[in-house]
């Protein structure tokens, strides 16, 4: 090949590569523009305050009500329930893998957790219907087990791999010298873990939890299939709930194009976007703090 052709190919591909980088910016920009534009259209019809503080979501009623609180509360309830289960289990497992497991056990556990992460959410939701729901109905004496508790347990299963992997990395990254110093003072393994290693790994563990929260808030299929989808203000874990993601999934298929209801779903999506963004950014903040702290 001629030298000039080679040079122009070089320049051409530099531009192509840079172009794809800009495409990513365009993608995020496009998503933001879509959310903002449609939410804005929604707020032309409905007052933002009514949307944010409304206690009732009934967009198909004779006098439609677009209050997002039942949906946000549902999402929050299911997410907190999931974290209540996933945080102790996740940190316990991460600590076991990082501190106690032999290399052989570790080599079995890590792929197992990756496998759990690979199970599609629709399969987890299906198991919620066929296994967990009858179980909960029996135990709690309900007509069916499609409620917030069901969704919370399933979301915990889905968030666990994220939490375990990141928390384990954080625990693993704590300098060995900390541990040795603690042992030298006569501390037991457990005391070292609780008083030295976990506090030192805390920012990383908090990051793990926040990323797990982000995953749980944004999860659609599992909650759509397992929580019953009644749009009421939930009062307990045994109430059926309709999360923000499930609302979008159910109602987007039915609404006419560019009606108030259609725009309302984009407004819900905007709130959802902001919630996951906040969780992920907090997670990232703590990861960076952890990295800075342990950069030797």
């Amino acid at each position: 090949m001629k030298y000039r052709t080679r040079l122009s190919l070089d320049i051409l591909f530099k531009i192509v590569f840079k172009g794809t980088g800009l495409l990513v910016l365009a993608l995020l920009g496009g998503i933001l523009a879509m959310l903002v534009y449609n939410s804005f259209s929604f707020f032309m019809d409905v007052k933002p305050l009514d949307f944010i503080t409304g206690m009732e979501w009934s967009p198909t009623a004779a006098i439609p009500k677009y209050g997002m609180l039942p949906l946000v509360l549902s999402t929050t309830l299911v997410t907190f329930g999931a974290m209540f289960i996933a945080i102790p289990l996740g940190i316990g497992t991460a600590a076991y893998i990082a501190e106690y497991a032999s290399p052989r056990v570790k080599n079995l556990l890590k792929p197992a957790i990756e496998m759990l992460a690979a199970v599609p959410s629709v399969v987890i939701g299906f198991l919620g219907i066929v296994v967990l729901s009858p179980g909960i109905a029996d135990l709690a004496d309900l007509s069916n087990g499609l409620n917030a508790l069901n969704g919370a347990i399933l979301l915990a299963v889905m968030a666990l791999p994220t939490i375990i992997t990141i928390a384990e990395d954080a625990i693993h990254a704590v300098p060995k010298t900390y541990k040795e110093a603690s042992y030298a003072m006569g501390a037991t393994k457990w005391q070292t873990l609780r008083k030295i290693i976990i506090p030192a790994a805390a920012p990383g563990i908090i990051a793990a939890v926040m990323l797990g929260v982000g995953r749980a808030i944004g999860e659609t299929m599992t909650v759509l299939m397992a929580t019953g989808n009644a749009s009421i203000l939930p009062t307990s874990m045994f109430d059926s709930v309709k999360t923000m993601t499930a609302t979008i999934a159910i109602e987007m298929g039915e609404v006419p194009y560019q009606t108030t209801h259609y725009f309302a779903l984009y407004a819900i999506a905007t709130v959802l976007f902001l919630m996951t963004l906040a969780a992920n950014m907090l997670g990232e903040y703590f990861i960076n703090r952890f990295r800075k702290y342990h950069a030797v």
């Binding site: 980088g21 299906f126 219907i129 296994v131 299963v157 393994k189 944004g218």
Partner: protein, 287 residues
Amino acid sequence: MLFKSSKISAVVEWGTLLISTVLVCFFLVVVIWEIVSKGAGQLSWDFITKVPSAGMTKGGILTPIIGTVMLTILTALFAIPFGVCCAIYLNEYAEDNWLTRTIRASIRNLSGVPSIIYGLFGLALFVQALQLGTSLLAAGLTLGLLSLPYIITTTEEALMRIPNSTREAALAVGATKFETIKDAVLPSAMPGILTGVVLTLSRAAGETAPILFTGAAFYINNSNGYLNQEFMALPYHLYMLSTQHQSIEEVRPIAYGTALILIIVVFFMNLTAFYIRFKYRKSATEM
């Protein structure tokens, strides 16, 4: 005395952590056992080669299998070239300036965006604005966008592991920067890139939320997989059979069979990725 009690408590403490680990593994075992034990009876040659019939209460799941395969191929065609090129830009060309930092921040944010929002974006952009309609193409493009940030991240990690000496050697014998990347950097990074690509595609194959509004259909009567038509897909088929079908109990065995096939596909792709990673590690240590 003191020594003895501390020994007991050490066992108890170890036990607590062990129990949480065992519980997590138990979840995985329940998932696999339930699907395999109840789905295995469904598996037969007919199940994967016949189209659904009699209102989906009989027949196989050929149509959703073809839909998912086509969808995954489309996702790959779209996401791999763009993802790999973007990773090359970030790792090989980009200077540390505000533009690069913004692109990196965007990628991190995009990978956290819920998949249902990608579904909405696909609906607004591909189905409505670009007039593709609810179709295989629109859904494939939507899943391609969803996969983009993961492919960029994993490819960049693979590129980062290539030592600078590889680049310097190529540049020293007179290769241009592009030739260095094409002939020296990419070939050595290939196993790492492939691992990331296969893992990402296995995720995309199992996704349901992004295809809800962009083209997945409850039932279509042909298994052609045309780009401009609606399609059936395995995850969506499972969702429909378990929640929307008019005789849910009757189709439950087919739902189990679909779940099993879906899990087999996804796990097979994951194992392929593990295998590539394992082989690559081995050959890297031999060097």
